[in-house]
Symmetry: C2
Subunit: 365 residues, 2 copies
């Protein structure tokens, strides 16, 4: 059995707690002889700042590059609001994405039937929802230069951010979206603002070409990102795979996540290019939710998004689709049994702490 | 009685139809001696392209600058998808905003009680919703330079858009938001991505300073734009006034509009600075909805957003708040009577064409 190297980066807030439940699952997989994971742990975000005054240390970056997959908790919190911009908690996550070249961020938005009523949307609008946002993750306004604040004198400053996209960056993310759609409902919706942004014009053009050249059998639709956001709120089930840039993807995937009523439940995968030689790809898995400092350390956090992110690692990094299916089924079964963490608690269900939820899922497995 | 000069720019798609109902209202106000409006009409968007191969002619731009207010319909449609970028329909609207220096875009998102069920959100989440998005409209990535597509050779192109904000641009839009909040629930939520964008850092800093210096009695909250979007979907009633940049404002205001279930009902005002001498300000009023080419010319369009935009003109440009209130009340009364255009039709209500709706509102007045 091959040994897989994992780097666990719990981060801040509820990160360590939810990561604990993944650790429990990994330990069990190892001891039951189902898989062989070698885990190391590092610091990221505020935790790294408190220890080393950086958002991630060079040592941990090296470990991340060396690992077969990075399992990431969450970063940030008011405690670090005043730290310098360069070493703010989020910088650690952004560096991991950029230096590992994790250009493809997959964010499924799935509505668990047991939770359909937790959505602010009507049940009929979200029940059975199953879409994926494919977000470009290493380009756009997140990383483009110049990115500066200049003092103009007279109390005036000028802030500049730069949105940059090259053809190849759009091509490779489009391919990820089309490949994914082929295994799903065979439909891709590309979203940009071509009526206002030149990057939107190029985005539209390149996605159209990739489609024509390589994936003519997949249905492709184009939406302006603003009306796409509207349609997501109005009737999300019309979508299958949505492909969009880094900033629109940030907004749209958060909104899609919120629609499901299951924010504490949603995982994400950030993937690099497949290496032609080793056939491996760099990857980082993280829950869509944030560090939720207000409930940290209280055993209130929902570990499902984190466990489900690890499930994505099994599927995308370790070719253990069957095991990933079992993890998903265990989560569904525990939910069906009525167990709920505080964020998804409703009348007639049974309250569970972070640990109780993790243990219940493990038992189901 | 002072004469007010209006320029009507119906534009494309359903624009001319819904503008027709405003025209009807203006004619009545004139003939009943309630007000004195002098109207002129121009072409914008695809209509201007078809006539003059531009998105707005210099003659119409001059008329817009000369008018006390511009009443704008909607622009765009698949017919003009292939026209050159510089003369695409949207360019006419963007030029109006920029050349008239209409930096403050006010977009109320109000849920009409009679329509609460038309929302994809649960009734309790939207009933009674009354928020305003204050969107910066002449800066940011919409207008920043460079804004280019460059051929890099080898089949590669590079697209660049530039987000630029200066202190004074953020200050003046923040003031509009705080002033508005003072007349409402006294709360402003500022949204940006300071964890990723330098413009977000400056935005946050400047709004905080304006608050401290000039509006300490208004409650100010800061939200990251992505989680702000989430909270808008989850529980929109937590907001009063939201102030944000051009691109986030585009996305967030469309989503807010969709929440209400009343997209065909929502007006907007785009305002310039008040001139110290004349005490006048340039202004453009337009519905939030688009040109809806699929239903154009069929008498199906809902004229309420357009009429309500004219109501905003009465309020913000002509100091006729009482008359504006009457227009709002007439709209509410007609809705309460059960009259509905196709977009908001539900069981047990009476179908109305664009014209029938316009006439009913006028009759109510
Ligand atoms: C933490 C932050 C930098 C990040 C982003 O903006 O990408 C987060 O919002 C996300 O969506 O993963
Ligand atoms: C038509 C388009 C240029 C415009 C924008 O992006 O600002 C529209 O979406 C709006 O919100 O008014």
């Amino acid at each position: 059995m091959a040994t897989h190297k994992l780097l666990l980066l719990p981060g801040d807030g509820i990160g360590p707690e939810v990561m604990g439940e993944v650790k429990r699952l990994i330990d069990w997989l190892n001891s039951a002889g189902i898989a062989k994971f070698e885990t190391d742990t590092g610091l990221v975000g505020g935790a790294a700042y408190d220890a080393h005054k950086v958002s991630i240390s060079e040592g941990d970056m090296a470990k991340a590059k060396d690992a077969d997959a990075v399992i990431f908790g969450a970063v940030g919190g008011p405690k670090w609001d005043a730290v310098p911009y360069e070493v703010r908690p989020e910088a650690g996550l952004l560096r991991l994405r950029k230096d590992l070249a994790l250009f493809a961020n997959l964010r499924p938005a799935v509505c668990y039937p047991a939770l359909a009523d937790a959505s602010s949307l009507k049940r009929e609008a979200v029940e059975g929802l199953d879409i994926v946002i494919v977000r470009e993750l290493t380009g756009g306004v997140y990383f483009g230069e110049p990115k500066t604040i200049t003092d103009l004198g007279n109390g005036q400053k000028r802030a500049i951010d730069t949105q940059v996209y090259d053809t190849y960056e759009i091509e490779r993310i489009a391919r990820v979206a089309f490949e994914l759609a082929k295994k799903r409902k065979n439909k891709v919706t590309s979203m940009e603002k071509r009526n206002v942004m030149k990057s939107g014009v190029l985005w539209n053009e390149v996605v159209t070409q990739v489609h024509k050249r390589e994936y003519p059998d997949v249905t492709l639709e184009h939406q302006l990102a603003d009306s796409g956001g509207m349609m997501l709120v109005k009737w999300p089930k019309q979508f299958d795979v949505i492909v969009t840039d880094n900033l629109f993807g940030d907004m749209l995937s958060d909104i899609a996540a919120m629609l499901t009523g299951s924010l504490g439940m949603l995982p994400s995968a950030s993937l690099g290019e497949v290496d032609v030689k080793s056939k491996k790809r760099k990857a980082l898995y993280e829950p869509v939710h944030g560090s939720a400092p207000d409930i940290a350390g209280k055993g209130l956090a929902n570990p499902i998004a984190m466990i489900s992110s690890f499930g994505m690692a099994l599927r995308y990094s370790f070719d253990m689709g069957d095991l990933a299916d079992k993890v998903d089924a265990a989560i569904a079964a525990v939910l069906a049994s009525g167990l709920r963490t505080a964020d998804i608690k409703s009348e007639g269900t049974t309250a569970a702490s972070t640990t109780q939820m993790g243990e219940a899922i493990l038992k189901e497995l």
